[in-house]
């Protein structure tokens, strides 16, 4: 993947003045597989296997892929909630993987996460106020309880909930409301980057758009950057500036959102896109059905990992790993069809 780095580095060099907020280089997370008498490590699940991306301030980066492709692991590895195996994670130009635990904890103010499951992500024993004040307590943001309460009320208003319900418990709220609370919690520390890990996939469709709109509004107001993780393209379509498509722990395509939607290059992206319902009934698009199941990341196929399910697979796909190339400006793809 050497060329990945050179390409990304070239891009970084070009934007010297405008340093991206977050740069991830060749991120890897391998989970060991232990077997046998002495629990020897016999192999690895390559959950994330060399992912690179960058996010600018105020930008939304969509990360898309099927369940199990490693996108959530990528998101959590970026925050070091899961300790990555290898790679660089530069936040504001500094590698957070090299930070000690105290420094890392300070750094966490700047990058937050919103989880998928609004039921599991809020401590059922805390009132909403406790949930929202917890980050303030952790980072000593306010010295008095009154200030904290004021801030908590503010946060409630920001996410569109009534401050009068601060002393309720999470289970007294609906799923969408809980997700708002989750967002408010993330905002409590004034982050610059929020990793939204499928924040709406557990919600009803009608509620989804409310939450998405909220996120969009917040971005505009607060200048937040998002890494928006989703398993289908329809959700990220409107919100994302750029989109990365992941397959089996690797990035297979990365491009501006419009470019991806108008002209997906990778057969996998095409397949994903074909599943997105199109508002314009005139536009005709063939539905591409993916064959077979997602292979096990512990035993990825040789060559291009996608080849067993690819409709356009050639002989070379079975043996040679395709390189990561910038086919168009800012449009990267790893596929033999374009080399």
């Amino acid at each position: 993947m050497a060329d990945v780095q050179t390409v990304e580095q070239g891009k970084i060099a070009a934007d010297k003045e405008k340093m991206p907020l977050l740069v991830v280089r060749d991120l890897k997370k391998h989970f060991p597989i232990k077997r046998g008498l002495i629990q020897r490590t016999v192999g690895h699940v390559r959950a994330v296997d060399g992912v690179s991306l960058s996010v600018d301030t105020g930008e939304t980066f969509g990360l898309v892929g099927e369940s199990g492709c490693g996108k959530s692991t990528t998101g959590r590895s970026i925050l070091r909630l899961i300790e990555p195996t290898a790679g660089e994670i530069l936040f504001e130009g500094r590698d957070i993987r090299k930070m000690g635990s105290a420094e890392m904890r300070r750094m966490r103010r700047k990058m937050q996460i919103v989880f998928q499951d609004p039921y599991a992500s809020l401590n059922p024993r805390y009132t909403v106020r406790q949930v929202l004040e917890e980050p303030m307590l952790i980072h000593n943001l306010f010295s008095t309880a009154a200030e904290r309460k004021k801030r908590a009320s503010q946060l409630m208003e920001i996410v569109g909930l009534s401050p009068s319900r601060l002393d309720r418990y999470p289970h007294e709220f609906s799923g969408g409301q809980r997700q708002r609370i989750g967002i408010a919690r993330a905002l409590a520390v004034d982050p610059k980057l929020i990793i939204a890990d499928e924040p709406v996939s557990a919600l009803d469709v009608s509620v989804q758009s409310q939450v998405l709109n909220l996120l969009d509004d917040l971005q505009k107001e607060l200048g937040l950057a998002y890494v928006f993780i989703a398993h289908d393209l329809s959700v990220v379509k409107h919100i994302s500036d750029r989109i990365g498509v992941m397959y089996l722990g690797r990035m297979v395509e990365l491009s501006p959102a419009d470019a991806l939607y108008s002209e997906p290059l990778h057969p996998y992206s095409q397949a994903l896109l074909s599943a997105v319902p199109v508002p314009d009934p005139e536009a005709k698009r063939d539905r591409i059905i993916l064959q077979g199941d997602l292979p096990s990341p512990s035993k990825p196929p040789t060559g291009c990992p996608f080849h067993p399910r690819c409709k356009d697979a050639k002989d070379i796909c079975k043996t040679v790993v395709p390189t990561w190339e910038e086919i168009r400006p800012d449009h990267f793809v790893a596929c033999h069809l374009y080399s």
Binding site: R35, G36, L37, Q39
Partner: protein, 305 residues
């Protein structure tokens, strides 16, 4: 599977090693000189020292423990100070009696516990359930020797239904077994109840009921068979512990089992017997835990190793 078994066996060996180590430390710490105990109070200091040397008691702790382990590996559990026989022989002599009592005690628990458990599950949250719950908790809360003494007095002596105490055939085992059954059955009934309630509330039982299957059929055919799995697990561990000897009850009934020998050895500080019986009992517990784990795989197809 094979590597799982081997790994589990390895774990068991480690556990047994730990037990041997802890018992050895305990025995080592006991403030009594084995050589003096063997030779008696009038032996001269020279005699005692000579015996200490012969027994290896003057060696450093590690070496003594090493010797002890080597002896265990060779099946030698040591030599009783007071009974002048190898501990292994003494345990062997009492093995049949202990096994007999263990089996009967276990069966008593099942005979008393399981029907009550089924009954409690069917009457879940009703008044009768509360009553049975109370009764079963009373069973758990009773001191075993209290139950034993009362049974001995009323059932054996006054009603003259069983021998009053001692060791012999099956009739000698019934009352000690019943004592254990009374105080131990509640664990089975409560376990079976809670797992049966879970099963009875599960979708497939509802389905079976909806299809019109007769209640008893549902209970015995579906619920009981599925609910019995945790009971079997507990039962196997339980009987493993029972095989190691039932300390107090054997003593109450004057039953010559391994538990009684252990109690006598403790009163007399006959450390080789104490250590031997502890290790012996532990072997059974560990072995039955092992069997339970393997059984689990056979009973429940969802479990893989």
């Amino acid at each position: 599977m094979i590597s799982y078994i081997i790994r589990r066996l390895g774990g068991s060996v480690i556990v047994l090693f730990g037990i041997a180590l802890i018992t050895f430390i305990l025995a080592y710490a006991v403030p009594s000189d084995p050589a003096r105990m063997i030779l008696g109070q009038h032996a001269t200091l020279q005699q005692v020292d000579a015996l200490r040397k012969q027994m290896g008691l003057d060696e450093p702790f590690i070496q003594q423990f090493g010797n002890y382990l080597m002896n265990i590996i060779h099946g030698n559990l040591g030599f009783s100070f007071l009974q002048n026989l190898p501990v292994a022989t003494l345990i062997g002599q009492r093995l049949p009696a202990t096994f007999q009592l263990a089996l009967v005690a276990w069966l008593m628990e099942l005979i008393i516990g399981l029907p009550i458990g089924v009954f409690m599950a069917l009457k879940d949250r009703k008044m009768t359930d509360h009553v049975f719950n109370l009764v079963s908790l009373i069973g758990i809360s009773l001191p075993t020797f209290f139950v034993g003494l009362e049974l001995m007095y009323w059932v054996a002596y006054r009603a003259n239904l069983f021998p009053v105490g001692g060791t012999g055939g099956l009739s000698f085992v019934i009352l000690p077994g019943l004592t254990y059954g009374i105080t131990g059955a509640a664990y089975y009934s409560r376990l079976l109840k809670s797992s049966m309630v879970d099963v009875l509330n599960s979708d497939y039982i509802r389905t079976a009921r909806a299809k019109g299957a007769a209640p008893l059929r549902v209970i015995m055919g579906h619920a009981f068979r599925n609910a019995i799995i945790p009971v079997i697990t507990y039962g196997a561990t339980d009987i493993g512990a029972l095989f190691g000897g039932i300390v107090v009850i054997e003593d109450v009934f004057g039953y010559s089992g391994i538990g009684q020998m252990a109690v006598q050895a403790i009163n007399n500080l006959d450390t080789p017997i104490i250590m031997g019986t502890v290790l012996f009992a532990a072997v059974f517990v560990v072995a039955f835990n092992f069997i339970v784990d393997l059984l689990y795989g056979l009973i429940d197809p969802r479990i893989t190793y």
